[in-house]
Symmetry: C2
Subunit: 429 residues, 2 copies
């Protein structure tokens, strides 16, 4: 006899529709022949026009009922958001011994410790492959295998919207706003793109990856976040001239028991693997001490990829695979120090708009050398502002706090316009 | 109480040593705290010098005893080879209800159907992550997730030795033999490199991937195999001029229920993802109808990567994850037609050495047009043989049998030297 699983789905947007389509094509997998019954689908608005026919679907507006319905073994939460009903229904379902599958990175980044504790205590699954990098099976790879290999760095491109915008800016040298508008028209950016372009979405994801890679609690607040809104087309021109591309990089690393968790625009060498990841594609690179480097690349969003990842999570539950939600048990999770960005060191790209007259460069150099910041290369170009020049400096590696002090001093120079821009450089990728 | 697993290891070469090192660093994984006891390690020669100290290891020369030892729950076979003791001990262990982990692609490519049948009947695991693409978790990804998504093509670079040799030939325009010698000195090629350079090793791997991707029996005999020994430095020069790189490509695809399984040198566009995979690195690209394209890239060999994959297989057994060895049960495996290479169609690179005199090109063109083979581009270069020219043609897509007929006719031309070379082109990667 094949076992039957009752499934409740909360939310019927892109991911929900993608998953339902996948479920139709479901072919039986692994050792058990399983029947999957969709018991209830909770939506906000029963009359909303949708991409699929809802006539025969068991819709309800009572989302919380999914957490208490005895026929539901597995709750699939596809509403999104760290607060409100998504949080409530997931928590309640776990408390009622239901397995949970979610695509909700915000929820897990904020409430991951609490929710994984409940799942662990009740011995139910909390799976979230669709929450990170869409169709790339990175949660499974890291949580089940790669975390055994002493990962020292996991990084990548985790937000397709930002990567699409940056790629277009690089190729056409377009301005941020125009490119964003275009991306919105083409469906590569949300109408409200705040979470994406400010790096928050990517930060949710790297926070979770950091937790499962390094056996540490989820700590979203400690993740440094800087978005892409200040990058302009000239940055791309200068970057290219210096042999770099600009990417919104998400990084989690571990050195001597200290953790880095950060999301920010970053200069990466044009020849690096990560520079070659273009448009809406996501990529994750896992560096460990045993294997070396594993690269995963694929679509990070869309109904197909995310639906497939939800399906994969469901198959794991049916197959009887149990993983601690965050890789190891609560007890074994280590509280490691997450470093402040001020205490990290990078080489930097520094772009200073200054009056085009003698002596300016000497003053800037002095401000830098005072804090022992040495310069690797300099480009000077006429600015679009007349009588001004753009001075582009690449520094050697220096602590961020030192750089910030120097910048403060440089900004005070009468010849320098108030905007002094810096972008971190990752040279070792 | 934590469960204890008795492990027997057959073979203590590179993979075995790598795995033992991993085991030392073992940290407990997943829901269970498990003890892993190495009961016996079978070696051929007790006195052989090894990279690790064997003093405290439970060595034996009686390999078959591992299959009957009651304290052994899991046999890890790392001997290699499709015949002889590796086959015998794996079969016996499965028959005795022991789980088996193996890195032996040759064994599975030849005996995979028989062995997976025994494993399935006895409800024991037969895991082989280390057999394909070293440290890349591709077996797990395809067997557990991606095969659900209607894969239509899985391809990649599955032999690090060949990729290393081809990369060096491309970069230094060196000759095959010199580069091979150099690769052997540096440890990137075996002393007997036959299985690698003739494409047999890659064919073992793509045969297995084809089986788990398409739910078909393992059929190694049906895999078309051509090695890299005939590629010379001039091919790379011409390829580059035409915008291509040359890779030993392994391809399994499914179109209208017909399967392709093939390994051969291949022109791939310089801009393609696969052209950028260099040196000893492996890469696998999975194309499916739901996600689109997933790329996996990492080291394909070495003690670390393969040891880590064996470890991952072991963790899956301890975690209680059961998969059918070939993805689906025997009953559900479909017998699909595997196409002969003659019946497939490609664009081709054609290299003809011919006397440098008027009328030759006309005769060649005639031989091609007779079989409706149209030409996309032509390059003519002086040959290193005086009074001869190298004529390089890129054809449009044509059936291989037609091309072979034309080549036969071209070879008969008195102006043409006997060697007419062709290399298949994959334009759509």
């Amino acid at each position: 006899m094949s076992k039957t699983y009752g499934v409740g789905i909360a939310g019927l947007g892109t991911v929900g529709s993608g998953f339902l389509k996948q479920l139709k094509n479901f072919k039986t997998h692994s050792q058990k022949t399983a029947n999957i019954n969709v018991i209830k689908i909770a939506v906000k608005n029963l009359r909303k026009k949708r991409s699929l026919s809802v006539k025969s679907l068991p819709l309800t507006t009572d989302t919380m009922s999914l957490a208490t319905n005895d026929n539901i073994d597995i709750l699939i939460e596809l509403i999104g958001g760290s607060k409100g009903i998504a949080y409530k229904v997931v928590k309640k379902a776990l408390q009622n011994n239901k397995h949970v599958i979610t695509a909700n990175k915000a929820l897990l980044a904020v409430h991951g410790n609490e929710l994984s504790k409940i799942a662990e205590q009740n011995n139910v699954c909390l799976n979230y492959e669709a929450a990170i990098a869409g169709g790339i099976p990175i949660v499974k790879a890291v949580r089940e295998n790669l975390r055994l290999n002493k990962i020292n760095k996991i990084y990548g491109i985790l937000n397709g919207t930002c990567n699409y915008i940056l790629t277009k800016m690089e190729n056409n040298a377009g301005d941020f706003k125009n490119v964003l508008n275009d991306a919105q028209k083409k469906g590569f950016a949300e109408l409200d793109p705040t979470f994406d372009i400010q790096g928050i979405d990517a930060a949710h994801k790297i926070t979770l990856l950091s937790s499962i890679a390094f056996d540490i609690p989820v700590n979203f607040k400690a993740t440094f976040i800087e978005g892409i809104t200040k990058i302009d087309k000239y940055d791309f021109v200068f970057a290219k001239e210096l042999g770099y591309s600009i990417k919104l990089l998400s990084v989690a690393s571990k050195k001597l028991s200290k953790i880095e968790q950060r999301v920010h625009p970053c200069f990466v060498k044009l020849k690096s693997d990560i520079a070659k990841v273009s448009n809406e594609i996501n990529a994750v690179v896992v560096n460990d001490l045993v294997i070396g480097k594993n690269i995963f690349e694929g679509p990070g969003a869309g109904a197909g990829p995310t639906g497939a990842s939800v399906m994969s999570d469901l198959m794991d539950i049916i197959r009887g695979t149990y993983n601690y939600p965050l890789g190891v048990s609560m007890k074994k999770r280590k509280k490691l120090k997450i470093q402040k960005i001020d205490d990290l060191s990078f080489p930097y790209y520094l772009r200073i708009t200054a009056k085009d007259k003698a002596g300016v460069m000497a003053k800037i150099s002095k401000a830098l050398s005072k804090r022992k910041i040495s310069i690797e290369s300099i480009i000077q170009k006429p600015s679009k502002r007349s009588n001004f020049a753009e001075i582009i400096l690449i520094t050697h590696t220096v602590k961020e706090s030192s750089l910030l002090s120097s910048i403060k001093q440089i900004k005070r120079l009468p010849e320098v316009s108030s905007s002094v821009k810096f972008i971190r450089i990752e040279d070792s990728l």
